[in-house]
């Protein structure tokens, strides 16, 4: 970490940086909504809520939108006419936390790996990431155990760290460097970095949830007949939880769950329509449905097991869809299912 590449800005002067960013980009960042925070468009500094703990939906909603129109089609002529619906706008995500940046890196593996998804690629290419190291771990987070937080080492264009009365600004890419051209900022000092390290050490001690990840995928894989799945799916629950409702919230709020459904919708001419991609959830009965009424996962037990295994790096996407420890699924679960507790039971702890 070279000091020459880092700057600081006073917190009460942050509006100046935001104005600078707004000149070139549509900016999205955390805003306060009731007791929770959500990512929304930011037009003025007072809308910004950088002291947030976590958001309801992760920033995946900007790259892999819950409902996306892929293209429109017209069957009036002999040849089907198809028009792509493209999103080329330059955007900037401000205040994205380390776990969510790590989640994006995993989504990159999936959407930009062997098969390139143009819709995801386009959004990713046109979006600048200004990350923000966590100030306080959420009561539900365990990123520290997963190696994805609370401070970030990679994947950002710019990185902000709260160091008291000011933010430390570190540069992570050429884009990040270019963004800061034309704005007057203080150079960071060694003392600023000392303060950052000091805060990191304090933060690490404040986590309330942990997962022992050593051999965890292997252990999960070998325990697909464990009685914990029956308890989760049907009765008993795990460590004070009730059995799963199959409501699907855990997978929708998960920053690495990417499963989607694709369908066509026609307008009333019955000739023109759109192809839609919508987030799906493996917790739903219909997800495993195939022709002739067959279903790969007809029981709740099978579905919750599938999701847990996926998050523990076993099923489906393996590491691409595995857990980053943000804790959103624990926070939102109406019956109190906690993946860290399930992991303990699987380990026999």
């Amino acid at each position: 970490m070279g000091n020459e590449k880092a700057f600081t800005i006073e917190k009460n002067d942050f509006g100046r940086l935001l104005e600078h960013l707004l000149k070139k980009y549509r900016v999205f960042g955390p805003t306060q909504r009731g007791l929770d925070a959500t990512f929304n468009e930011i037009k003025t500094n007072d809308q910004l809520f950088l002291d947030y703990v976590s958001t309801v939906l992760p920033p995946k909603k900007f790259f892999h939108p819950p409902r996306l129109e892929l293209f429109s089609f017209d069957l009036h002529q002999k040849h089907v006419k198809i028009e792509e619906i493209k999103q080329d706008e330059k955007t900037l995500l401000l205040g994205i936390h380390p776990c969510d940046v790590h989640a994006l890196l995993r989504l990159d593996d999936f959407f930009l790996g062997e098969f390139q998804d143009p819709y995801y690629q386009n959004r990713r290419k046109n979006t600048v990431l200004v990350a923000l190291n966590c100030i306080e771990p959420s009561d539900y987070a365990f990123c520290n155990s997963m190696g994805t937080g609370p401070f970030l080492e990679e994947g950002y264009d710019l990185l902000l760290t709260d160091i008291g009365t000011k933010y430390l600004i570190e540069i992570g890419s050429d884009t990040g460097q270019n963004i800061l051209k034309g704005i007057q900022l203080e150079n960071a000092t060694t003392a600023d970095f000392t303060e950052k390290n000091h805060r990191f050490k304090l933060l690490e001690k404040r986590f309330k949830r942990f997962i022992n990840t050593s051999w965890l995928s292997k252990i999960a894989q070998e325990n697909i007949d464990h009685e914990v799945w029956e308890r989760l799916g049907e009765q008993g629950g795990v460590s004070g939880s009730l059995p799963c409702l199959s409501c699907g919230q855990c997978s929708l709020v998960c920053p690495t769950c990417y499963c989607y459904d694709v369908y066509d919708t026609l307008d009333l001419s019955l000739k023109k329509g759109k192809r839609i991609r919508e987030l799906d959830s493996c917790q739903l009965l219909e997800y495993g449905e195939v022709a002739q009424g067959g279903n790969f996962r007809p029981n709740r037990k099978d579905r919750i097991r599938h999701w847990m295994l996926c998050k523990l790096g076993v099923a489906a996407g393996g590491q691409q869809s595995s857990c980053v420890g943000c804790g959103r699924c624990i926070r939102t679960c109406p019956v109190g299912i906690d993946i860290t507790e399930v992991a303990k039971v699987l380990r026999g702890e």
């Binding site: 909504r33 009731g34 007791l35 929770d36 959500t38 309801v56 939906l57 909603k61 819950p66 409902r67 009730l242 059995p243 799963c244 409702l245 199959s246 409501c247 699907g248 919230q249 929708l252 709020v253 369908y263 919708t265 026609l266 009333l268 001419s269 019955l270 987030l279 959830s281 739903l284 009965l285 219909e286 007809p298 709740r300 926070r331 939102t332 679960c333 109406p334 019956v335």
Partner: protein
């Protein structure tokens, strides 16, 4: 000119709200009339013809012996019969009276019950074969159009039976159960409404009836943990879909 497919719209025991929802299509209603011919709709039209119909939308539950005969007649004259809204699907709010003795219910309304012959209120599927089910109190306009379009194209309509939580989360709402400790029916209720109530910080009342494979007993336990009595819980499950096998378990006998 090619003859347009015909639609008949009928009402039994219900509030006519589903038919109103159809009228509320407003901006696309004219386009709808370009592709179909509504030949029977007493609430809206002066001149109505007696079928047959390509698509029949039936609103309301069945509550008298006369209605049983009428729905059988409509079935005979319809190619595709749609249970239009919760009352036609499972009895909905009027079915609350099924939990008290028939005579008692009749006496609540009529001073002289000698000419009243009512039955338990049930969905039309109890008496005739139903081809499509449009859940909701009332069904969402998008779903009404989806059913008409897919009937015309002879394909399966896309009516997801997943929980309201799906639509609620996609709107970036915080869960009302965990953030406000409110007894929301969302986790067991079929989506299709677009999570209107939770988006306005009101709990889901369960008006679309059960989702596919709901875990009603776990949600009832959530309500118990919140401090709700057995009677409260029964009332919640009876309100819109107490007659369905899924909710019946928690709605009691």
């Amino acid at each position: 000119m090619k003859k347009k497919p015909t639609i008949g719209i009928f009402k039994f025991t219900g509030c006519a709200g589903c038919q109103l929802e159809l009228l509320h299509l407003e901006d696309v209603f004219i386009n709808l009339l370009d592709i179909v011919d509504i030949t029977y709709w007493v609430m809206v039209k002066r001149e109505n013809t007696e079928g047959p119909w390509d698509i029949s939308l039936v609103e309301g539950g069945i509550s008298t012996p006369e209605e049983i005969e009428e729905i059988k007649e409509i079935r005979k004259k319809s190619k595709i019969l749609v249970a239009f809204g919760d009352c036609a699907v499972n009895g909905c709010i009027p079915s609350i009276r099924n939990w008290i003795p028939q005579m008692e219910a009749e006496q609540c309304v009529y001073s002289d019950t000698s000419s009243i012959h009512s039955t338990k209120i049930l969905g039309i599927g109890e008496y005739v074969k139903v081809d499509m089910v449009l859940k909701g109190c009332p069904p969402h306009r998008e779903n009404i159009i989806e059913v008409i379009k897919s009937s015309l194209l002879n394909i399966r309509p896309r009516l997801r039976q997943h929980p309201v939580c799906m639509e609620c989360k996609l709107k970036d709402n915080a869960c009302l159960i965990i953030s406000k400790n409110l007894p929301c029916m969302g986790p067991v209720t079929s989506a299709g409404c677009g999570a209107i109530c939770p988006s306005l910080n009101r709990i889901c009342e369960g008006c679309y009836g059960p989702m596919s494979n709901p875990n009603t007993s776990a949600l009832a336990d959530v309500f118990r943990k919140m401090g709700y009595s057995e009677e409260d819980i029964k009332r919640k499950f009876r309100k819109y879909a107490g007659m369905t096998p899924e909710f019946r378990k928690e709605a009691g006998d």
